[in-house]
Amino acid sequence: MTTRIPCVRGLLLVAAACLVPALAAAQGNLSVQGLGYPPGQFSARSLGTGGAIGEMDPTSPVNPAAIIEFGAPALSMQMEPEFRSVTANGSSQSSSTQRFPVFVAAMPFGEHFMVGASSSTLLDRSWQTTSPQQQLIAGDTVRFNSTTKSDGSLNDLALTFAYVPRSWLRLGVALHAVNGRDVVTTSRFFEDTVRYGNTSTPIATTYAGNALSAGVEFVEPSLGGIAISYRRGGPLEQKIGDTTLATAHVPDHFGVGVVFSGFSGTTLAFRTAYDKWAALGSLDAANGAAMNSWDSSVGAEFTGPRLGDIPLAFRVGSRWRNLPFPAAGHQVHEGSLAGGVGLTLAQGRVLFDAGLVRASRSAGIGVTESAWTLSMGLTVRP
């Protein structure tokens, strides 16, 4: 059965399809171009090392095999405010956004099997710009501020199964539902509010896709380990209402992490990952299609002194990567330095991790962006 869309509605949909990418593509920041900024799906602990331990960190839903590291029922959540500053033409402006990027729950079944569920932010698309406009209407110059605001994200909901067939081998698979909703609201705020009525027009876009991932860890407790993960993206649809605007694929992801713990009290880590963001195709690509990118980091975790009966861990790391969506046609590069601290409270039942990341972003277009990200994670093992 086919459904005929009435002519006017059809025209509106076509217009919306044309306008949504145009509105959403450019947003006054380097980091949230296109479909948004990828926080990386890292926990506060991983971020403290620049993401270097992410492949083997159970609180970072990157490698399905890693959740086995919980070893017990666990619940982990995270908050992550970011404070950005964009500099262009000699002037700077600060903004801030609040993220809750990772939520992980895991439950063991027997000694060798664990099931987990997680929700993490794949792309964060929160931004707002305001620019003064004027238009000549019937001989009058009408002045107003035009504000465009985007509020939304793409989330990765994963159901994870991990298995330990041997003491040195961990395996995992995960089913992913990549869903999201983004509301781009364009508003006009007139100087003369007696004659003119302000406008606010929201356009809600939804995304639905899926993916499948698998991971493996090879562990030698006295030396460290190697972890590998791969996510195969399935179809991804962009819709307005019940009308499909565009189709693409969830980006494939490949990551490798190496951890060396041969020095007492010290863990050294390296990780690199490749994301095939180009699979997003033409979704919100008015300012340039998404580009594949590498994401690499090195870091270390040190066992620190004890504060009373509380053990401490310190972390440092560095990360460099390209962001998926170009700014004015140029790929955005991000380099960051990170540090963090971890505390084990309540006789090991509560883990508190905090990380601080200083990131610098540029695209070679005369606009630079820097950001402080404060990441706080709480893991409870009842």
Binding site: V8, R9, L12, A15, A16, A24, A26, Q27, G28, N29, L30, Q33, P81, F83, R84, V86, A88, N89, Q93, S94, S95, S96, T97, Q98, Q128, T129, S131, Q133, Q135, I137, A138, S146, T148, V183, T186, R188, V194, R195, G197, N198, T199, T201, P202, I203, A204, T205, T206, I240, G241, T243, L307, A327, A328, L343, L345, F352, G366, V367, L374, M376
Partner: protein, 434 residues
Amino acid sequence: MHLPRSRWVVFAVAAVVAAGIGACSDNLESNAACPSLCPGLADSLRDTVVDAVMIDSSVSGFPAIGQEPFLLIGTRGDTLDTRAIIRYDSLPTFYVPTNSPTDSAIVGVDSASLMLRVDTSETKPGAPVTISLYDVDTGGTDSSATDTAVAVLAPLFSPDRLLGSKTFAPESLVDSLKVPLSNDSVYYKLSHGRPLRIGIQVTGTDRAQIRIGTSVNFVPPQLMFKPAPHGDTTGVTFLSLSPMTRTPVGSPLINDLQDYLIVLKGTPNTTAPLLTVGGLPGHRVYLRFNLPSSIVDSSTVVRATLLLMQVPNPLSPDARDSTTVWPQALLASSAITDLGRALRLLAAAGAIGLDTLERFAPADSGLRQFEMVQLVRAWHTGLTATDPRALALRTALEGESGAEYWFYSSKGPLALRPRIRLTYAPNRSVGGSP
């Protein structure tokens, strides 16, 4: 106080978490990279003028009798002759003397007068003004419809019914004017159980008019007298009475006929295809629109302006004095088909964003604009009961001023008819709201 280190750590963790929660509010605004990285204006505003008036009509009789907050009493030669009627349908026959525990019958009246509260802003000084008070009792025992008829009341303003008068010099026209009344007439009325109904006429040589307060705004004329015969008023204080009417119970006018205006000569009517606003008796204009749904229902209207072409009215009283013509939303649903009734059910002036930014005089001419964007939006969203997409026009001093405005109607010359200018942004919202 000494705390273990672990406690300090817990406090530190709590402080960091609190700082994070404190940063929960987003501040997403970022414009430093504009315009290179900012979205441009998605679509420009569009503008059109439409002949959207479906029905336009002037209806007189506003405000309703007895609903006037002020009464404009004047004799303006060829342009205006209005009189006020004040009713004291029940007069006391007993009073309580000072320092007496018992009532005493009123056996005489002394120092009778009518105290008028005057809005001096509408007084036209320049020459002496005479205020004359007449007995306009029609002789019936109760109020009836004919009691308010001009044809019945006008002949009663005759010299043989004069109750009193006083001439005021221009400088003595202040906010309280006391006009003497015949003591004998007042006593006759109260002693014979007759209503005292006073007609007020204002005369003079040059634009004689005053504007007095009424029961509607709680400053009605007061009947004052000493309830004792002349020469026997020692220790007797004044009685002060507010207007009172014996309108039969059940009459829609039960509370309205305490004080009201009659118009012997109203502002001039016109046979031209014009819309009339204001004047005496007051006119309101009813305008119903048929707006193009392709704009109103499928776009976001950012400005809607009613355009009316004013025609000069040199015959209007105070033709050179500026005042305001209000656009007001109608609350009457389409079930009310009588335009006069519909025009009585108006939203408050200024409600739903209706406004006019201009003041102009009846003798002026030119294009007048009335802003109505919020009302047009309300029609679209169904926030008002105004099934008919209609609007009323009235003067700010309706019934209190003779100013009468003329505008071309939809029967006027094509280029001068009422129109609506719409400025709008095409709608793009097809995905729901946030």
